[in-house]
């Protein structure tokens, strides 16, 4: 079971702003890593943009699960995991991270921040510690606060999109994805390979 990325974003009116992110792409082959990272950023932003304030959701895409928590104050967190990683722990992690972030970074900086300007260093440590859910959170069996029935489950990324919207279009328009990543996506899509998104 693995965690691949952990990101903090701000849900603006028009789009989602990436504030800080940590990645673990060590399980991907060397030459795929930068593309994978870009796709994870792209996915995290897309998910936050399509989720409403005050909601939690899990989006399934092939063998990945993206867990998102958008707070009422528009601060949002996304963790991308595999399908073995327990979602309870993922949401515990998001809660913790956003709480810590909001205490360390001024609210004023959120709408206009970027990974270069934001002063928050905790993400890498959290990501690495939570790779083993039981070490990180021994109380995972006891889930008092979180009501799992309120978590929205999406079976594909597509279900997040508006009617008529196509993922392919969003990919090609994206500013986050480099040319190589977009080309990789096109080829993977054509081959219907198991790594269409990542």
């Amino acid at each position: 079971m693995r965690l691949y990325s952990l990101s903090v974003l701000y849900k603006g009116d028009a789009k989602a702003v990436l504030l800080k992110a940590a990645y673990d792409v060590s399980s991907f082959s060397f030459f795929q890593r930068s593309s994978v990272q870009e796709f994870m950023t792209f996915t995290s932003q897309l998910i936050v943009e399509r989720s409403s304030k005050g909601s939690r959701a899990s989006v399934k895409e092939q063998e990945y699960l993206c867990h998102v928590y958008v707070r009422n104050d528009s601060l949002a967190g996304v963790v991308i995991a595999d399908n073995e990683y327990p979602s309870r722990v993922a949401f515990t992690l998001l809660e913790k991270v956003l709480d810590e972030f909001s205490r360390q970074v001024d609210r004023i900086d959120w709408p206009v921040g970027s990974p270069d300007t934001i002063q928050y260093a905790g993400l890498d440590g959290h990501l690495s510690r939570y790779q083993n859910p039981r070490e990180a959170d021994p109380m995972t069996k006891v889930q008092a606060e979180l009501d799992e029935t309120k978590i929205i489950l999406h079976n594909t990324m597509e279900s997040l999109l508006e009617r008529g919207e196509k993922l392919d279009d969003l990919v090609s328009k994206s500013e986050v994805l480099g040319i190589q990543s977009k080309a990789f996506y096109k080829t993977a899509r054509k081959q219907n390979s198991c790594c269409a998104i990542m």
């Binding site: 079971m1 060590s26 082959s29 060397f30 030459f31 795929q32 073995e84 327990p86 889930q143 799992e148």
Partner: protein, 391 residues
């Protein structure tokens, strides 16, 4: 992994150079394989280049000829089998599933254990017959290769089957090695809770241990698994003592595995693999308890109208040197196996009722606290299965 991909390229090129030189020195091999040094070298370089560019390499067509070439080189003594194993290990980092690579690997290992005049097994005092240091080294290396490949691709059947094959043919199901494997793969299994092949491996280990310790102390049963003549006598005190030990630990081992299963099912709800695993362990426990309540009793044909342990399809009929994978038979029987096993269970004494009661309580506990639909479904299916056992 940046550094290692460079290292990989360098080392592969060195091996390529060796192979090319070998071809040049032995033109008669070249003729038989219908391969020219230039072509084979460029093919291999092509493969290396492709690996470095990380594109999917359609090797199948060329691979058979290439592997045949390597076999020829090994048989003629020009290519050191150990080097070939290393080349295979590199290939597996890129193609962890590749069936041809695993099949070729087994061929090479067979050459290694047959070719030398040194024994693969030695007698070591109270430990009885154990694999020689050289063999142990090979086994350790194979375990590592399988472990890495298993981590690179989920439920990597080929890697785990190969691991089982190594235990059967190189380690001859040596008890200490089986126990070591059981404990060393535990952590990995706990972090790969939907890896069915990984848990099937644990089931194989437990079954092998069960089958080896349900004798009355005679090691004859164990020795049928080995091609070398056995020198340990049934009345040998030390051998009986070590068999006693394994006997005593077995219920404890199975109990530990049940606890392990409980822990995982509670922590990671909704994984069918874990429930499947629990069925296997429960079945083994029941099998053990049903026949051998508190002390080991000789298993005689009269005791078991339904069949003997060989019905569990654990032990291959004899050591084979062909490439046929006995382990395929293993997993086949476990797939279609439930109906066979339940039929057998119906003929055997009823499962220990205390064990059943505890399982039902466990299911109740899961159902009352779980919020995961899949988990509830699996728990109910497990309950139904348990009910069929006691009918």
């Amino acid at each position: 992994m940046a550094e290692t991909s460079e290292e990989v390229a360098v080392l592969v090129q060195r091996v390529v150079k060796d192979i090319t030189n070998a071809f040049r020195r032995n033109p008669h091999i070249t003729d038989r394989c219908h391969m020219h040094p230039a072509t084979s070298k460029s093919r291999l370089y092509h493969c290396v280049e492709r690996e470095r560019c990380s594109r999917v390499c359609k090797m199948r067509k060329n691979q058979q000829r290439r592997l045949l070439g390597r076999k020829e080189l090994i048989l003629s003594g020009t290519l050191n089998p150990i080097k070939d194993l290393y080349l295979g290990k590199l290939a597996l980092t890129k193609f962890p599933k590749s069936p041809e690579t695993w099949i070729h690997r087994r061929w090479v290992l067979q050459q290694l254990i047959q070719e030398t005049s040194l024994p693969s097994f030695v007698t070591k005092g109270s430990l009885g017959i154990i694999p020689a240091e050289r063999t142990q080294q090979l086994i350790r290396e194979e375990m590592e290769v399988c472990g890495e490949a298993a981590g690179r691709y989920p439920s990597n059947y080929n890697a785990w089957s190969h691991r089982i094959w190594v235990l059967q043919h190189l380690a001859k199901l040596d008890v200490k090695i089986l126990l070591d494997e059981l404990s060393s793969t535990k952590h990995w299994a706990s972090l790969h809770v939907s890896d069915h092949s990984g848990f099937h491996y644990r089931q194989f280990l437990l079954k092998s241990l069960v089958s080896q310790t349900v004798t009355d102390g005679s090691i004859l049963e164990q020795n049928t698994l080995r091609s070398e003549p056995a020198i340990v006598l049934p009345k040998d005190e030390e051998a009986v003592a070590s068999a006693e030990e394994s006997r005593i630990n077995l219920p404890h081992l199975l109990e530990e595995e049940v606890e392990f299963s409980t822990d995982l099912i509670d922590s990671y709800p909704g994984h069918e693999t874990l429930w499947c695993h629990r069925r296997h362990v429960f079945y083994l426990q029941h099998h053990l308890n049903g026949r051998f309540p508190h002390s080991v009793v000789q298993l005689s044909p009269a005791d078991s109208p339904g069949g003997t342990l060989s019905d569990l399809h654990l032990i291959p009929a004899g050591p084979h040197t062909s490439q046929a994978m006995e382990v395929d038979g293993l997993s086949d029987s476990s797939k279609q196996g439930y109906s066979q096993e339940t039929k057998r269970l119906k003929r055997t004494p009823a499962p220990d009722s205390l064990g059943l009661e505890m399982e039902h309580r466990f299911i109740d506990q899961v159902l009352s606290t779980c919020r995961n639909m899949e988990q509830a479904r699996f728990a109910n299916a497990y309950r139904k299965w348990l009910v069929t056992l006691s009918q």
